[in-house]
């Protein structure tokens, strides 16, 4: 297969990490909460899954059960983090930025401790083949597309459908835009904020799990995970708060992010080592460009939710 096609497929597989992270973040932001804890939550999701796999990887359980238990472990730890974040910002009305950053610092650190104690030969090897369905037996780069990749696409499309086509989504967007109005028409603002943050965190956590177990499948994978958390948050802006757009965005981001390492393989392009860090800036440059373009066009639909980052007090008039 063509080298560029291979590269594209690889970008898509890599980008699935971002689809998870930014779809999770969009759900949270649509409820009016800017969750900067996403990098930490993705790390915790990865750690949670690996912990479970480490415990049962060599057991005699059927492979698909091991996969499912791994996913559940990932979800559990990530949603626990989302719960902590919700409790602090929704119930105690703590500052969202500070809480999120603290959660990231905490999550990344804890994950590194956990992962350094685990045995990669156990958590990686066991169920690996299961993830690669239906392309498990292929030898080319399509092998990288597994169930968790397709799950990411489905989750993004589904999240978009729920947000913009169902009443639940309408209510959630109302909560993020104007919680006082939502409250006045009888929507349970606290419930929506908790649910959106926890579900969003769970989805983001799966991204970490996918990256470590499926995409990279290496012992050092967890070390670079935090950076992809931040990229996911940037991708939210790129996708203009629409989950389906994260699919396109993730390919672009995946492409831009790995172009620096890929480009050395292209024989007719001469890249010195010094240029690599500059190429690594590309995803961020594109995010800034998107911000500029969407600000200039100034369409209300492309702006962040109106009450993003603000705590809601019912008593305040």
């Amino acid at each position: 297969m063509n080298i560029w096609l291979n590269f594209l497929i690889d970008s898509m597989a890599f980008g699935a990490t971002f689809i998870y992270g930014s779809t999770g973040e969009i759900l949270t932001e649509k409820a009016g909460h800017l969750n900067l804890g996403i990098p930490g939550i993705m790390c915790m999701g990865g750690a949670g899954g690996c912990l479970v796999l480490n415990a049962i990887g060599r057991s005699s359980l059927p492979p698909f059960l091991i996969v499912i238990l791994g996913i559940l472990g990932s979800l559990a730890l990530a949603m626990l983090c989302g719960m902590i974040y919700s409790f602090l910002t929704v119930t105690l009305r703590a500052n969202q930025n500070v809480t999120g950053l603290a959660l990231t610092t905490f999550g990344v650190g804890l994950m590194k401790v956990i992962m350094s104690k685990l045995d990669a030969t156990v958590y990686l090897v066991g169920p690996k083949q299961m993830y690669r369905w239906p392309f498990a037996n292929r030898q080319d780069s399509l092998q990288a597309m597994g169930i968790l990749f397709f799950a990411a696409v489905i989750i993004a499309v589904l999240a978009g459908w729920i947000l913009f086509r169902t009443k639940t989504g309408l209510h959630l967007r109302a909560v993020g835009e104007n919680p006082a109005t939502a409250d006045a028409v009888g929507i349970n603002v606290t419930k929506y904020k908790y649910a959106a943050t926890c579900i969003g965190s769970g989805i983001a956590g799966l991204g970490g799990f996918y990256y470590i177990i499926d995409y990279m499948a290496s012992q050092e994978a967890y070390l670079s995970l935090e950076a992809f958390g931040w990229l996911s948050i940037a991708l939210v802006i790129f996708a203009l708060w629409r989950p389906p757009l994260t699919i396109i965005g993730s390919v672009v981001f995946g492409f831009l992010f790995s172009v620096s390492s890929f480009i050395t393989n292209v024989p007719w392009i001469n890249v010195t080592m010094a240029m690599k860090p500059i190429l690594k800036m590309l995803p961020y440059v594109v995010t800034i460009l998107v911000l500029i373009v969407s600000s200039i066009r100034n369409k209300r639909e492309n702006q962040p939710p109106a009450s993003l980052g603000l705590s809601y007090f019912r008593e305040e008039r």
Partner: protein, 567 residues
């Protein structure tokens, strides 16, 4: 015709801390009637209605709907009992369409289908004579359209009892009459409508019965047909008050502000002021009448330097003749420059020259009031910055639709809001807080502002009190031109008359007062001359003492080709 009781309130009492907001209020509402609730600001009208709508819960008393006692703990409970309230501040999500806002929070069995909702919204609108596009986004809507969405939102939920909290406060006269038509149609449909207001003419026009509240107590409920404005006012205020504005003859009216051929385009390139020319005299109240949005706001803003003019001049005559020079307005350097131009004379009418004098001697002479201006100062405001214009004594007390939007900072106290105008004064970078505090206390006392203290955030005051603070501050700085746009919008009768009297007192002090109003009766009773605007041009000038409402009304809709003032 025997009428059925829709809602009964029995002995409703509500306390906020030690303040008794409602004291054993009894109220009946019948099916198919419009009941007006009349009362001054802070008399507990809104609190009472909020208890029916589920925002507050009464401390004592019962609410009966169709004869059954009910407990209303939340807005949702109220909806379930067929009660819907349209608040003064709209509760809408800007980013959503009309239909999305209407369906928000409604729990239905059927599947969510926005098309069906749009159809239903259109049906409701058609039935009662609204005009609304269900797919229009709220951020694109006018105030009146937003109110329509709020009303449809309530009707969509099947409300039979509608409460409207001061629905006309932000509407133009045309929109008000359209709203009243809708209300009458709803009444004919058997709905009960409660309208909270303090505008007597609206009460007389639209309501069937009037319930009067005073200081949290229900004074009486009377049939509108059997009462009159004077009687209602007396019940509302508790004493007879004079509904006449005492207008004095202008004394020594001299041109203060002369507007010549003003042209202005807005950001979209639309001509909003067309060749506007008029003169405002000191010691006179000049009224500006016109349908809202005819260019009044832009005119006032261009006078104070907030709008870049396309062409035209604003000539301001600063009355200085025979007044002593002070160092408060002029620096020593400037005084010396002016003296060199022969601008001053002494008490014996001899020309003043500082030549050969030492600075200390000049200071002494000026401070003793021995140096007087020879001429009035004539300035073209077009070339001045807003700050310079303000320092010259041209003051704008603008009261826009959003009371706190312009002029006051909601989260700051009255003292701090006073300081917005004086923060440049004070020594060596330190703020002078004493004078603003004294001023704040003076305003609170003179204008009867009800507030817990000078440091209470202005946002927590009621609308009328906020307006008193705003107008009071502008008046306190001894202006030479005072412009007030809609200064009584949303105020009760007592506060309105306080403001009218304030403006009259300024006029008697020789200030040129420009008053932009919407109530023609008030304009005719308060002003000396009225200019009428339509579509950014002046369509006529009338003498307020002899003109009739019809005359002004006709000018308000007249179009003028050249836009030149016709004398």
């Amino acid at each position: 015709m025997e009428k059925k009781l829709a809602l009964q309130m029995r002995g409703i009492t509500k306390r906020f801390g030690s303040v008794l907001a409602n004291n054993h209020v009894d109220l009946d509402v019948y099916e198919g009637e419009i009941l007006a609730i009349l009362g001054e600001n802070g008399c507990g009208k809104t609190t009472l209605m909020n208890m029916i709508a589920g925002i507050y819960f009464p401390d004592e008393g019962h609410i009966l709907i169709d004869g059954q006692e009910v407990v209303i703990r939340s807005p949702k409970d109220a909806f379930d009992h067929g009660i819907g309230m349209i608040h003064q501040h709209f509760k809408l999500v800007d980013l959503f369409t009309a239909a999305e806002n209407v369906v928000l929070g409604v729990e239905e069995e059927k599947r969510y289908n926005l098309k069906e909702v749009c159809g239903e919204v259109s049906r409701i609108a058609e039935r009662y004579g609204f005009h609304i596009d269900p797919a229009k986004k709220v951020y694109d809507m006018s105030v009146s359209e937003k109110q329509t969405v709020e009303i449809i939102k309530v009707l969509y939920r099947g409300a039979d009892i509608l409460i409207l909290d001061e629905p006309t406060a932000v509407l133009t006269p045309q929109e008000i009459s359209r709203l009243f038509d809708v209300l009458r149609r709803m009444k004919a449909d058997g709905k009960s409508i409660i309208i909270i207001t303090h505008k007597l003419n609206e009460v007389m026009e639209v309501s069937d019965r009037v319930a009067i509240l005073r200081r949290g107590e229900h004074i009486a409920t009377v049939n509108t047909a059997e009462t009159n404005e004077a009687q209602l006012t007396e019940m509302m205020v508790g004493k007879k008050i004079d509904l006449d504005i005492h207008r004095s003859k202008p004394v020594n009216a001299r041109p203060r502000l002369e507007i010549r051929n003003l042209n202005l385009k807005n950001e979209e390139g639309v001509q909003v002021l067309k060749n506007v020319s008029f003169t405002a005299n000191g010691g006179e109240i000049l009224g500006i009448a016109g349908i809202a949005g005819s260019g009044q706001r832009e005119l006032l803003e261009s006078i104070v330097g907030l709008q870049p003019l396309e062409s035209g001049d604003i000539i301001f005559t600063n009355p200085k003749k025979d007044k002593p020079v002070t160092f408060f307005h002029k620096s020593l350097k400037r005084v010396k420059e002016l003296a060199a131009q022969d601008a001053f004379h002494d008490v014996n009418m001899n020309a003043v020259s500082f030549r050969g004098m030492r600075n200390s001697a000049i200071r002494k002479w000026v401070d003793n009031g021995g140096v007087l201006f020879r001429e009035d100062e004539i300035i073209n405001l077009r070339h001045k910055t807003p700050l310079e214009i303000r320092e010259l004594g041209v003051r704008l007390s603008f009261v826009p639709e959003d009371r706190l939007g312009m002029g006051l900072v909601g989260s700051m106290g009255i003292t701090d809001n006073m300081m917005l105008r004086s923060y440049r004064k004070g020594k060596a970078g330190f703020l002078d807080r004493k004078k603003p505090r004294a001023l704040a206390e003076e305003i609170i006392e003179e204008l009867e502002v009800s507030t817990p203290g000078t440091s209470t955030p202005v946002r927590r005051l009621s609308g009328g009190n906020v307006q008193k603070v705003l107008v009071g501050r502008e008046i306190a700085f001894t202006p030479k031109v005072l412009m007030a746009a809609y200064p009584v919008r949303g105020l009760d009768i007592n506060s309105s008359y306080t403001i009218y009297n304030l403006l009259n007192r300024q006029k008697e002090n020789g200030v040129a007062v420009i008053f932009v109003g919407e109530d023609l009766d008030v304009l005719l009773a308060l002003c000396d001359r009225i200019i009428v605007m339509n579509g950014g041009a002046i369509t006529g000038t009338v003498d307020a003492r002899t003109a009739t409402k019809e005359e002004v009304g006709l000018l308000m809709t007249k179009t003028v080709e050249s836009g030149r003032e016709e004398q």
